[in-house]
């Protein structure tokens, strides 16, 4: 007997493999999905009485291909509780060794023709079989709008004749960056929701970890794929330590390192080491290395902020995201003082800062540390108003209260 979680994971692993194999021959993703969901329905009907076939995946592919050929596709069965169906179908046994074409499917999902905002949802749906409704909630989009965007994206791939394949050598680096960015976007959407225990998005971080693992297993000689897998593990290892037993938010520097997952951290270290042996740096490896330095700093009470600042400088030079700039500012504050850091973040584009919660939370802290109490209070209020997690809102309200009394 395998556990429910193992069955669900096996089903998730299997789903994308089957879609990728069916779509590889030039079949539209949408048609592959329809045919596969009908094959699952047929499996649920026949397996309980006739027994689970020796190769469940082979059986499903044959059944799905027959549906495709027969043109019996009905759109009604599509995506209906697909995850449940798959999970039941595979609770009997783990996946067997069929060809793994999922990487090609991921490259199709992150194709330049697809709007960057739809790439992660498309991957979650086609590679992992997530239903549009839960994807929509995780990304704060209406389910109807999300369904429409996914359908449109798949139609666009079909119309352009995008194949399920790995780009050639000349295209690989930029296309891989798109794939990794889409996976990381899914991770972040899940990460924001991990502070809300009942949120439907709470498994999105593990879904992204799985997508990252598929990618780095199938592209073992790409250091950035390893870098992303390491980065997500460093973060996920700390997930349990972000809230205390009363549900209160705990910032990184106050976390109980005993609540970090040692096994995940060890995996992250191994992945990062493997990546760095390949001698080509990149954005995700740098971000992972920064997380590794934080872990080292907090586990061994070792002040390595200067090293962290250097790595942030390198990161900002190749990937000047808001997150990277704020990370640089936080490191700068430790090395050169809060005033210097404040001068730096106040040069960042105001339009990007206007609704960026982490900007105001950091500004509040930097102002407080440099004695500008009124400015600090204003920035705390702004950060509170932009928070979408109760634990963080409550944490910042306490900080504001403490300042009001100062």
């Amino acid at each position: 007997m395998i556990s429910h979680d193992e069955a669900a994971r096996a089903a998730q692993e299997s789903y994308g493999k089957l879609i990728a194999i069916l779509a590889k021959g030039g079949v539209a993703i949408q048609d592959a999905e329809d045919a596969l969901s009908e094959a699952f329905v047929a499996a649920l009907r026949s397996w309980p009485s006739e027994g689970v076939p020796h190769s469940p995946e082979g059986w499903l592919i044959t059944a799905a291909r027959r549906k495709l050929i027969d043109g019996e596709r009905s759109r009604s069965a599509r995506q209906k509780h697909l995850a449940d169906i798959v999970s039941v179908a595979f609770s009997a046994r783990a996946t067997d060794g069929i060809a793994d074409e999922r990487l090609g499917l991921m490259f199709a999902c992150a194709h330049p023709a697809i709007d960057p905002g739809v790439r992660s949802p498309l991957m979650l749906q086609t590679v992992l079989g997530l239903d549009a409704g839960s994807i929509a909630s995780a990304f704060l989009v209406s389910p109807a709008a999300m369904t429409q965007r996914l359908v449109r994206a798949k139609a666009s791939l079909r119309d352009r004749g995008v194949l399920i394949e790995i780009p050639d050598h000349t295209q690989l680096a930029p296309r891989l960056d798109d794939v990794l960015s889409a996976i990381y976007a899914a991770f972040n959407a899940g990460w924001d929701a991990t502070l809300v225990p009942s949120s439907s998005a709470h498994t999105l971080t593990s879904d992204a970890l799985l997508l990252g693992d598929i990618t780095r297993r199938l592209l073992a000689d790409e250091p950035e794929a390893l870098g992303l897998a390491a980065l997500m593990r460093y973060c996920a290892a700390r997930a349990r330590a972000r809230v205390d037993e009363h549900g209160r938010y705990v910032p990184l520097d106050r976390q109980d390192v005993g609540r970090w997952s040692r096994s995940m951290l060890a995996e992250a270290e191994t992945l990062l080491r493997e990546a760095s042996r390949m001698g080509i740096s990149g954005r995700f490896q740098l971000e992972a290395a920064i997380q590794s330095a934080h872990v080292h700093r907090l586990m061994h009470a070792h002040d390595n902020w200067a090293v962290i600042l250097d790595m942030y400088e390198a990161l900002v030079s190749i990937s000047p995201t808001m997150g990277a700039m704020l990370g640089r500012a936080a490191a700068l504050a430790e090395v050169a003082g809060a005033e210097r850091a404040l001068a730096f973040i106040d040069q960042l584009p105001q339009a990007r800062a206007a609704d960026h919660q982490p900007f105001w939370a950091l500004r509040a802290e930097l102002c407080a540390r440099s004695g500008q109490l009124e400015a600090a209070r204003n920035a705390y209020r702004r950060a509170i108003g932009l928070s979408d997690a109760q634990a963080i809102r409550a944490y910042l309200l306490e900080k504001l209260d403490a300042l009001a009394m100062a």
Binding site: A354, R381, R382, I384, G385, L386, Q390, L397
Partner: protein, 114 residues
């Protein structure tokens, strides 16, 4: 595009308005309101007095019927609304997610254009 963010609050949230938790309750809402103004998207709205202050007026043909209390007989009650001017419905949803409703609900509706 203008949207109404319609705030439905739970009884326990509404009760905070007249409890020792009132300062934290109002601090969260005023921070939310201020963040909208500072981001340049605030386009109106109002907070409402508690549901117990409401009257419900129903006119059917010639018959008039006035009742004490709010219209909707649900656990969550209308607490107020904001009007925001944002690029699209996705952004309106993002602002809705920031409302400090604690178990309450925010309904996001596009305004009719007149």
């Amino acid at each position: 595009m203008k949207f109404a963010l319609i705030i439905y609050e739970t009884p326990s949230q509404l009760a905070k308005r007249s409890s020792p938790d009132a300062p934290a309750y109002w601090a969260a809402w005023s921070a939310y309101n201020e963040a909208m103004k500072s981001a340049g998207i605030a386009a109106g709205g109002a907070g409402l007095q508690p549901p117990s202050t409401a009257t419900t007026v129903r006119v059917t043909g010639d018959a008039r019927h006035v009742q004490d209390g709010p219209y909707a007989d649900t656990k969550e009650q209308l607490g107020g609304f904001f009007i925001v001017d944002v690029p699209d419905h996705d952004v309106a949803n993002q602002w809705a997610a920031r409302a400090p409703v604690h178990g309450g609900v925010v309904e996001v509706r596009p305004l009719m254009t007149m």
